[in-house]
């Protein structure tokens, strides 16, 4: 572990991984509760267009990705709020549009090719710059701030939108807030695990946590712990075995899920009373 920290790029990468391990599961808990587990994927695909737009216009891809993915998230939310039934179709349309747009735009960019996109699709944590870490840090603070301040309201919203409305909550605003927060999280995680695997960090630690918990708050806390373990653990492993960190992080997270599944069954069995009387 000590030799690992001797490298500047590893320090930056670990810091970024830590921040992502914290934020992605925190937001993911709300998204999973809201049955929008694939939202992160949808936003991830749209963000690809943003990255390509950055190359095309010569601006930082992270910034354009933030812009486009926030717009995409708002679009998904608006479609979802309007006609509930076609929500998944709308999501699918954005998937394809995002990828196609990204590939088209990158081919127009000077010197750009599909291989340029690869580092964003699958992550390239070893090329994380100091500036990236600052951007990731700022976004992480924003995301965690939203969860801390609006958490209680978001809990009610994700449980039942009508009750939220009948409690006088600004339902539309909060829904957009969740969508935008998810978009920011996707961009944060993009550099580390890649756009195609972002959603895994929002969903898998939550799925792991709920195997062992009975409450919302405890699920979220445990999900964050698992998230950090997965990102930092996966990244550290990748340093020693020379494998792509994004893939390792997700596989570590999935491994944790399988373990929790078995453990959860054991825990539940040892509990005397959880069945209905």
């Amino acid at each position: 572990m000590i030799d690992l920290l001797q490298y500047d790029f590893m320090q930056r990468a670990l810091l970024a991984a830590l921040l992502i391990g914290l934020t992605a599961p925190a937001v993911g808990t709300f998204i999973v509760q809201r049955r929008l587990a694939l939202l992160g994927d949808g936003i991830g695909h749209v963000a690809l267009t943003g990255v390509a737009l950055g190359f095309l216009t010569g601006t930082a891809p992270v910034l354009t990705a933030v812009l486009v993915s926030v717009l995409g998230a708002v679009a998904i939310e608006l479609v979802r709020a309007r006609g509930r039934t076609s929500g998944d179709v709308a999501l699918a349309l954005l998937f394809y549009g995002g990828i196609a747009g990204g590939v088209l735009l990158i081919s127009l960019a000077p010197g750009g090719s599909n291989s340029t996109l690869m580092s964003y699709l699958f992550g390239s944590i070893s090329t994380v710059t100091a500036q990236d870490v600052w951007v990731i840090g700022a976004l992480a603070v924003a995301v965690l701030g939203v969860v801390a301040v609006f958490g209680r309201e978001l809990f009610v919203l994700c449980q039942d939108e009508e009750v939220a409305k009948a409690s006088g909550l600004p339902v539309r605003l909060l829904s957009l807030l969740i969508a935008v927060t998810a978009a920011l999280t996707v961009v944060i995680a993009m550099r580390v695990v890649g756009l195609l695997l972002v959603s895994a960090l929002m969903v898998v630690p939550v799925a792991t946590g709920q195997q062992l918990t009975r409450g919302f708050r405890s699920t979220m806390l445990l999900a964050v712990v698992f998230g950090v373990l997965a990102t930092v653990g996966g990244l550290t492993t990748s340093f020693y075995v020379e494998a792509p960190p994004g893939a390792l992080i997700v596989l570590v997270a999935l491994g944790g899920f399988v373990l929790a599944l078995g453990l959860g069954r054991f825990v539940r069995r040892s509990r005397p009373q959880e069945s209905r009387p």
Partner: protein
């Protein structure tokens, strides 16, 4: 409800309904499946838009209504969606939301109200269990406790007795009796009133999106129960006192 509620709805589901609920009333909204009962109370609260007419909550249109803590809404079923478990206490405590400020932490008063609500519905000993592990009747009790926790003036309940076991129905009726004794307003949608029947002060019967009876509820004699939806009397206007047909139960 002090200012009273007025709803004038011209949707195909509800065709021109005038309804004012006065403070302290216990109103049962009855009617067949698809007669628009749930739609009516959701429209009253402004949860679904009106295509015509208007609705007022304590004299204010829903969009400008600020005192949402005065209303406790109990939806038809527990939609703690998603796979994320929530404890009973977490769900019930969320009923305080309309009374809480964004940057304040949960106060002792919030915790006390949550505990009282859990006591009332007899789930205090299971507060730490996930709601997903409960039966339908118990989940309904959780939803009612959530509304109780907010300590509202008026309760609006959508089918609180649907698919609920006899014990839970009895408990619900007791809870309701307590609320009525405190002078709270209650509006509930029901298929069958069961043990709640003696508490009802006013019955509104819907048929084809119109109010076909509005007045005192029919009183049961002896052990009669209210058989519910398929017994709405077709000629309510002619015999306003008994819009429902009665059938003795064994």
């Amino acid at each position: 409800m002090r200012g009273g509620q007025v709803s004038l709805d011209r949707r195909p589901v509800l065709r021109g309904i005038d309804l004012t609920v006065r403070s302290g009333e216990v109103v049962a909204v009855l009617g067949a499946n698809g007669s628009g009962k749930s739609t009516l109370i959701r429209a009253l609260l402004g949860l679904i838009p009106l295509s015509g007419g208007s609705t007022l909550l304590y004299g204010t249109p829903p969009a400008r209504f600020r005192d949402w803590w005065r209303i406790g809404y109990v939806p038809q079923r527990l939609s703690v969606g998603g796979g994320v478990p929530s404890t009973i206490r977490e769900v019930v405590a969320s009923g305080r939301i309309a009374r809480q400020r964004r940057f304040r932490r949960t106060s002792a008063a919030d915790a006390a109200a949550t505990s009282r609500a859990l006591e009332t519905v007899g789930l205090a000993d299971r507060a730490g269990d996930p709601v997903q592990a409960l039966s339908g009747g118990q989940q309904q009790r959780v939803l009612i406790a959530r509304a109780l926790a907010g300590e509202p003036d008026a309760f609006v309940m959508d089918e609180p007795t649907a698919g609920v076991d006899a014990a839970s129905q009895r408990l619900l009726a007791d809870t309701l009796a307590g609320l009525v004794a405190q002078g709270r307003t209650v509006v509930l949608v029901a298929h069958e009133l069961g043990p709640m029947e003696p508490l009802i002060t006013r019955a509104v019967v819907l048929r084809d999106g119109c109010v076909c009876h509005d007045g005192p509820p029919p009183r049961a004699v002896g052990t009669h129960a209210l058989p519910g939806h398929d017994h709405v009397h077709p000629h309510a206007e002619e015999s306003p006192a008994s819009p429902l047909e009665w059938r003795p139960t064994s």
